[in-house]
Every structure is written in C-alpha cells, then in structure tokens.
C-alpha cells in the first residue's frame, strides 16, 4: 500500500511539475500579447509602461471612450486606461490593487462612474482575460467573487487553459511566430474605441421596463475604503460621469439617487467630479454605437472635451 501510494504521489508530482512549467510558459507568453485585455495585463505585470501619471479606471465605457493620447497631449505625462470590459467597481478595484502591489503609484486616478459602478455581476465576464494572471493571489481572490473558474481551475496548474481556444491560439501564434497575432487589435495604453455606428439593435435597450439598480453592499464599502486609501497615499481622484444617450436616462429609476451619492461623496472628500451625462453629445445617435457607449467619433470629441476641462481645472501631469 505504502509503495503504491508513494509511486502514485511520485507520478502525480511529475504531472504537477510538468503542468506548472507549461502553465508558467503559457502565462509568460500570453502576457506578451497585445491582443485585447492581455496587452493591458502584460503592460501592468511586466511594467512595460513605466511612470504612469494618471490611471483611468472604469468599465467598458472607460476603455472605449477615454483616449489617453488626447489626455497626454493636453496634460503632459503618461496616461493609461485600465477600463475593464463588463465589470463594475469591484473588478476595477483589482487593477488598483495590482498597481499598489507593484508599487506603481500614479498621481491621479480618473474613475469612470455610472449607474452600475456599485453593482456587481454574478458571472465572470471574459474569463479568458484572466488566464495569464490567475495564479496571482489578488486575481484569484477577486475572480472568486464571480461564477467562472471553479476551485480546481483556480488552484491547479494548467487546468484553466483547457478548452480556451482563443487564448491557446494566441499562445500558439506567438510561440510559433507564424503570425502577428496583435494585428488590428492593439490598444494604445489600454484604449480601443469602437468605430461602429448606431445600429437598430441598440434601440431595443429602450424597450425594457424601468428598473432599479441595486447596490452591492460590499462594493459600496470597498469604494469607501478605496477613497480613504487614495487619500492616505496622496493619490488624487477625479470622477467622471461620461455621456450617455439621452433616452437611457429614463431606464434606471434610481439614477438620480446613485448620481447624488457620487456627488455627495465627491463633495465630502474634495474630489473633482465632472458630469457629462447631459452633454450635447448625449443628444445625437451619431456619436454612439449603443446607448451607453460612444463610438470612435464621439469618444474623440469627448476625450478632447475632458482634456480641456481637466486643464481648465488646473490638472497638470508633469
């Protein structure tokens, strides 16, 4: 019995070691990619963009609407957009945590806020984006709040890559150097606008009954801690409520309560809050590809507008 167990332990240890080695190779390789969120994680973990002066954080509305280049041209310094597709503040906070862990402290953090910021989703959106960084304790901890990776995928090497064809294809392309896998998908400092025009499907967003957006209490508490931690670390916060197509205003019944909460917090903590929810851009579909997201045309105009307002507010990065 003892001999059998020892032999089995030896064999499975070998499997574990080999799997860990391949896992490590996969992580390293995928972080070299510039494709989609892999590039953002790679820039962050491998510190490919040093000395960030301003970090933009938010949801997909951040990464598709806030152009760091426009802000850099206007304010000087280096701006990086850590907007994360599909997530509210809880997952956005993961990037803040990582920045702090890597001792990568920006002077300013610009938070994109919206009606869903203090909400939390149940499922793990785009789990493939976390494959290369899941072994990191913070990432493991934050993603465990969502239904996505099971216990085995979180703690055993290599398992989580299985069946993830998109990520494995990228790794294969990088390792075999057969194709420039980043063609057409590389972002500038995390930013990638969407050039689509408004499409008919987007109109269906207004066909729903008005709803109440519920707050997730742990996220509300995390948001408070975040404000306090930034104040302690002398990181200046700037909050932005970006444009949303005018029809969207009537969908969320408690929109004013939520926005009022942000305004009150901003006032209490001396945070600059810029509200573009009723900006002139909000009146025309030509600037949006759907009700919540500006298209490239709208994003460029909005970024210029934002840069100008930040400059007017005395913000200088260098």
């Amino acid at each position: 019995m003892k001999a059998f167990i020892l032999r089995a332990v030896l064999f499975f240890s070998l499997v574990f070691i080999l799997a860990s080695a391949v896992d490590w190779l996969f992580c390293k390789t995928i972080l070299r990619s510039k494709f989609s969120a892999y590039g953002v994680w790679g820039d962050l973990i491998d510190k490919r963009v040093p000395n960030i002066d301003m970090a933009i954080m938010g949801s997909s509305r951040a990464w598709t609407m806030f152009n760091p280049k426009t802000l850099e041209d206007s304010l000087g310094g280096v701006v990086y957009n850590y907007g994360v597709d599909g997530y509210a503040f809880h997952m956005q906070h993961l990037f803040f945590r990582q920045l702090m862990r890597l001792n990568y402290q920006p002077k300013y953090i610009l938070n994109e806020l919206d009606i869903q910021t203090l909400h939390i989703r149940k499922d793990l959106c785009n789990p493939e984006h976390f494959l290369g960084v899941l072994p990191q304790p913070h990432v493991r901890d934050y993603t465990s709040w969502y239904k996505g990776f099971d216990l085995y995928e979180r703690y055993l090497p290599l398992i989580r890559w299985s069946g993830r064809s998109m990520a494995l294809n990228i790794i294969q392309k990088i390792l075999s150097r057969t194709e420039a896998e980043q063609d057409g998908y590389d972002r500038y400092h995390g930013y990638l606008s969407n050039s689509d025009e408004w499409h008919a499907d987007a109109d269906q967003e207004f066909q729903v009954e008005p709803l109440v957006q519920h707050w997730h209490k742990p996220t509300v508490a995390l948001f408070q801690d975040y404000i306090r931690e930034c104040a302690e670390k002398k990181i200046k916060l700037i909050w932005v409520l970006p444009p949303m197509y005018k029809e969207l205003h009537r969908i969320t019944q408690n929109q004013e309560v939520i926005f009022g909460h942000y305004r009150r917090l901003a006032k209490e903590n001396h945070i600059l809050l810029l509200d573009y929810t009723n900006d002139t851009l909000s009146n025309s579909k030509q600037y949006f590809y759907n009700a919540g997201h500006l298209n490239t045309r709208g994003a460029e105009l909005f970024s210029k507008h934002l840069a100008s307002d930040l400059k007017a507010a005395g913000i200088r990065l260098r």
Binding site: M1, A3, A8, V15, A19, Y152, G163
Partner: protein, 478 residues
C-alpha cells in the same frame, strides 16, 4: 458527479484513502463507508430520487428473504411478482408512461378519435434502468434458488448502489458481486495500478474521443437538412465512434474505480468494433445487458432450441426489449428491430456462434476477409446507430436517404483531421491490446517505466488539450 470531472477525482481519492487507511481490514466498516459514499454520489445528482433507490433496494432485500423463508410455491411466486411488479412499475411510470400514452393518443387520432392524455413529464431518475435490473436479477436468482438471499441490509444495499456502477452499469449479478462484498478485501498494488490504468484509458476514450466527436455530431444532427450527404455520413461515422468512446470509456472508469477498491466488476465491452458479424458484436457490446436479457428473457422463453418460429420471436422480443430499455422512443425500437434483423440470418443459418475468438488471434494483422467482415459489420452497426441518435425515425430515414442519394462532397474545412488521427490512435492501441480485458491491460511490463510513464503523460496531455465542457455520458439518460 460525472466521472470525467475533478469532483469525481476528489471524491474518489477521499473514499479510496478512507477505505484502505481508516476502514482498514474491517470489512463491515469498509462496506458501510462504501454505502455512505454511494448514497452521497447518487444524492449529488438529485437527492430527491435517493428515496426511490432506497425503497427499491429494501423491496428487493425483503422479497429475497421472504422468498427464501417460505416454501409454498404460491407465496414465493407472490413475493416475486410483487417485487418485479413494483420495480417495473416504477420504471414504467418514470420512463415509459408518457411515451406509451402519447403513442396511444396518436394512434387514436389516426383512427379519427381525439384523446388528450395527461403527460407526467417527470424527470427520469438517474440510473433507474440499471439499479432496477440489478434488483431484478437478484430476486429472480433467489426465486430460482441459484443464490441464497442476502441477510445483511448493508451488503445488499451496497450490491445495488455501489457507486462505480450505480448510474450506468455494468449491470451486475448477485452471484458475481455479492460474494465479493461479503468477503474480505486486501489491498493489491498490482490490481490498483491496473485500475488506475483502466481509468486513464476510459478517460481518454471519453474526453479525447467521445466528447470531441460529440461536438461535430451534435452540429450535424441538430439540422441534417443543412448538411450534405457526405457530412451526414461523417456524422454517423463519428457518432458510431462517440457512443463507443463514451460508454466503454464510462465502463472502463467504473471497472478501474472498483478495482482500486478491491472489486472486479463484469466486463462490459470487449473491442466490439473488431467484430466480424453482428452476433459477435453483441457478445462484445454492453455485455452485461446482453447477458442479462439472454439469461432472464431469451433462455426462459426457450432461446433458439424451441423451433425456428419461436427462435425468431424470441430474438425479436429480446432486441425490441433491449431497444426499449434504452429509452421510450420509436427510434430505440427501430434500432432494436434493425439489430434483430441483422442477427436473424446468422441464427437461422446456425452461424451465430462462428466467431467466438478474438479476430487475428495469432496474427499481427487481420486477413483481407476478416477486415472486410469487420468493415461490413461496422457499417451495419453504424446504420443502426443512426436511429439510436436521431431525434425521431423520420430524421434517421432522412439522413440515411441523403447519404445514399445526395452524397455530394465534404468541404475540406469540415474535415476533422486531428480527430481522425486520434481515432486512428484509439483503434491502433485497441488492436494491439485486444487480447486483454481493456486495451492497456497487457501493456508489457518489459517496457521501461520511463516509457510507460511518458505514454501516460501523453494521454493526460491529450486529455488536457481536447478537454471541453464535461459532456454528460450518453448512457446516463437511460
């Protein structure tokens, strides 16, 4: 808890360690542990049906004892009838009621009468067909005085519910498994190693072969009208492989798991796709079900020794019942009838027992004649699987018609080249290992350990590469 998940791996590891280390050599403690683990395993699927399993177990347990204690034939028959009636009653209600009542309604509708039956639409309890047949074999054997009744409720419950075979077999016999449950088990490292190897091979067949085939098969069968004849032929071929990989893979994992716990279960598959005729195929495919029907239906009906007409009748009864056992659908009945039709000529010509040994017993390769027989049998079996897989009989006929009349071409983009390579690998290894109970059993010990381990690592690597969402085993639905 599917066999091809880490949940099962963790569950089994825990049971294995507790079984051998904590329960030690105490047989009673081992059996209690295995019974508890089996009920947990079953409850993990759907705890609501655990009561049904326990009720069925107690019914057969009590019937067995009562049949042994009374001598009057009438009373013994009464207990047998009660046990069989209630067991088959559950099966009828859960599995067949909706099918028969709706078929009856359709028939009336065709005759011009309208009848709107109330359908139960109940979920089928997992493994009901399997554990019902375990119980039936036990009460029939006790009634026929082939075995003694089991007086230990723990031992009998474990016989019915032993988790490796609980949800999809093999369908065990009391005379085979109960003595193992009632005797001391001593850990045997060689058998344990063999068990692990069989589990590995079962996982390969399920994860790498069956599940990858399933992706393609599901696409084509979802809407055959959009596929060419060639694509449908490919789908039928892949389903033929899928169902083998799926079910024999399951059986390998079940047998391997049981062997690690010191039990030998009945062999369920013996390289069926190397069969040279349909009779040989049925001696090699789902052996535990085939022999069950042979022993409890075919032979009691007189088998083939009661004249040609009765033999034909008995053959049809067995194959149709076998089809119906798989599911309440006309597709399964047609599948059963098709196999009966293929079997009959062999039976009538007295050639149904002409291929009793393994093909190419003393040769490296089969002869041309053997190869042709194997291919022909494979094609005939595959035609039957078309009915088995189709959602209805019309769809199966549509597919077969399109394959034969509008073959067309197979778009190169749809050619699953890597899958075909894997299938070739499967059959090459199975051919090399065809003299064992499973392909890797006779893996020579002369092969250096590093080479053996490299092969195992390769198989594990393939499982990682091709692992998709864990598809449920096909036979769980039966």
């Amino acid at each position: 808890m599917l066999f091809n998940t880490f949940h099962y791996a963790s569950f089994f590891l825990l049971v294995f360690l507790l079984y051998w280390l904590a329960a030690g050599k105490n047989r009673r403690a081992q059996n209690v542990l295995l019974l508890a683990a089996s009920y947990f395993f079953y409850g993990f699927w759907d705890v609501r049906f655990l009561g049904l399993l326990i009720f069925s177990t107690l019914l057969d347990y009590g019937s067995g004892i009562l049949m042994e204690k009374v001598d009057r034939p009438f009373r013994r028959k009464l207990f047998l009838t009660l046990s069989i009636g209630i067991n088959l009653g559950f099966l009828a209600v859960f599995k067949y009621y909706d099918f028969f009542i709706s078929s009856f309604a359709s028939l009336l509708e065709k005759a011009g009468t309208t009848f709107h039956p109330t359908l139960l639409e109940w979920i089928l309890p997992v493994g009901i067909s399997f554990y019902t047949f375990h119980g039936l074999s036990y009460v029939l054997d006790v009634y026929n005085r082939k075995i003694k009744a089991c007086y230990s409720p723990i031992d009998y419950s474990l016989f019915v519910s032993f988790f490796p075979l609980l949800v999809a077999g093999p369908i065990e016999r009391a005379h085979h498994l109960l003595p193992q449950i009632q005797s001391n088990r001593i850990f045997n490292a060689d058998k344990a190693r063999d068990g692990l190897r069989q589990i590995l091979w079962g996982l390969f067949k399920k994860v790498v072969i069956a599940d990858v085939c399933a992706t393609q098969v599901n696409t084509y069968f979802a809407d055959p009208t959009q596929a060419s004849g060639a694509q449908l032929a490919l789908a039928v071929f892949l389903f033929t492989i899928q169902i083998y990989g799926d079910f024999s893979g399951y059986s390998d994992i079940a047998l391997g798991s049981a062997r690690l716990l010191g039990f030998e279960l009945l062999q369920n598959f013996s390289f069926p796709y190397f069969s040279r005729d349909i009779a040989e195929f049925w001696r090699r495919w789902h052996i535990s079900l085939t022999t069950w029907f042979r022993d409890y239906v075919y032979i009691p009906l007189g088998g083939s020794r009661v004249g040609k007409t009765a033999a034909i009748r008995n053959t049809f009864i067995v194959f149709l019942l076998s089809g119906l056992w798989h599911g309440a659908n006309w597709t399964f009945l047609v599948w059963g009838a098709w196999n009966a039709l293929l079997f009959l000529p062999l039976l009538l010509l007295n050639k149904n027992r002409s291929n009793l040994d393994m093909v190419g017993a003393n040769q490296r390769f089969p002869s041309i004649k053997e190869l042709a027989s194997i291919l022909l049998t494979f094609v005939l079996v595959a035609i039957g699987w078309t009915f088995f897989r189709a959602i209805n009989v019309e769809q199966a006929f549509f597919i077969l018609k399109k394959i034969t009349t509008e073959f067309g071409t197979l778009d190169e983009a749809w050619m699953p080249t890597s899958l075909l390579v894997l299938i070739a690998m499967l059959f090459t290894i199975e051919w090399l290992g065809r003299h064992g109970r499973y392909a890797l059993e006779k893996m020579p010990n002369s092969i250096p350990v590093y080479l053996r381990w490299s092969f195992y690592l390769l198989v594990i690597g393939l499982m990682f590469t091709y692992r998709q969402n864990a598809f449920q085993f096909i036979y769980f639905q039966f």
